[in-house]
């Protein structure tokens, strides 16, 4: 409910923010904190760290608003700060990173040679369980930071390819390729679980 209200609200003017207007800052925080929290939570998988990132993002934004040149929108700028804060934290963790290129399972046709189970036909209640939530979290935790960031920004936050490229400082074709790979990887990881559900329901 709150999010719908926020979506309709206009951001405060840059001039007011630059002049140090506290009400304008408060409006900015009200408007963007829910989405930036979701972003940080999805990237880090931890509520406490997501909260820290949120605080760091706005403190950083307040400190640097004077030098904001308006080359990107205020929203993209905040997303960039939050994403960088989250990425910095991820870099400090032990890196079990798989290079982006190695995650590609379609190029050699290996996953396409077998018959795929079309599990999207499962009854809706099969998708509403706590177990499914666990599976979703487990699958996204297996994505590399690079793929997870693109998937989160594009598919979950609905940012455009251009905005995502700007936030992550990568090219637009790289955004498209990473998004496809992230989607395929998640689909593949979830397929093991849902294919079993299909077998249970419709198998003999």
């Amino acid at each position: 409910m709150v999010m719908h209200q926020n979506k309709q609200e206009n951001p405060p003017s840059i001039e007011l923010l630059k002049s140090g207007d506290r009400e304008a800052f408060a409006r900015l925080v009200h408007l963007y904190s829910p989405m930036l929290y979701r972003l940080a939570y999805r990237m880090l998988g931890d509520a406490h760290e997501a909260e820290d990132v949120l605080q760091e993002t706005f403190m950083n934004a307040f400190r640097h608003i004077v030098s904001f040149e308006g080359r990107s929108s205020l929203k993209t700028w905040l997303y960039r700060i939050a994403t960088n804060q989250a990425l910095m934290r991820l870099r400090k963790r032990k890196p079990p990173l798989v290079p982006v290129e190695e995650e590609w399972t379609m190029a050699d046709g290996t996953t396409m040679t077998k018959e795929l189970q079309d599990w999207c036909c499962l009854p809706e209640e099969e998708f509403m369980t706590r177990e499914v939530q666990t599976q979703l979290e487990r699958a996204s935790a297996q994505l590399s930071t690079a793929l997870n960031a693109v998937f989160t920004l594009r598919d979950l936050h609905g940012l455009s390819t251009r905005e995502t490229a700007e936030i992550l400082s990568i090219s637009e074709p790289a955004v498209k390729t990473r998004l496809l790979r992230a989607r395929l990887k998640l689909r593949e990881l979830l397929s093991d679980y849902f294919s079993e559900r299909v077998e249970e329901r419709f198998g003999d």
Binding site: R22, E23, F25, A26, V29, S33, P34, Y37, R38, Y41, R42, A47, E51, L54, Q55, F58, M59, F62, W104, M106, A107, G109, M112, T113, E115, L116, Q117, D118, W119, C120, C121, F127, V132, Q133, L136, S140, F151, D155, L156, T161, K176, T177, L179, L180, R183, L184, L186, R187, L190, S191, F194
Partner: protein, 80 residues
């Protein structure tokens, strides 16, 4: 197109699903989906995967306590 969809075609399919490419551009890919159950299953489950994540993401909400802590650390508690 007899083989299954490859990366280039899957990128086209994604652009179509995302509303960033029109049907003419995707004609070959869409025609392939009509006749290939494997690629159709891939497209269907790909879309379902995205929608499951979108729904689940809506459950991630900044708590009232966390919001208050945020305003307080920014010295904006009087405007929270």
């Amino acid at each position: 197109m007899t083989d299954h969809l490859k990366e280039e075609e899957l990128l086209t399919l994604c652009a179509y699903l995302d509303g960033q490419a029109n049907e003419t551009v995707c004609q070959a890919v869409l025609a392939h989906l009509e006749v290939c159950p494997t690629c159709r299953a891939l497209a269907n489950t790909l879309m379902k995967t995205i929608s499951l994540y979108r729904e689940s993401d809506q459950d991630v909400v900044l708590s009232e306590d966390a919001r208050e802590r945020l305003f307080s650390c920014l010295a904006l508690e009087d405007l929270s």
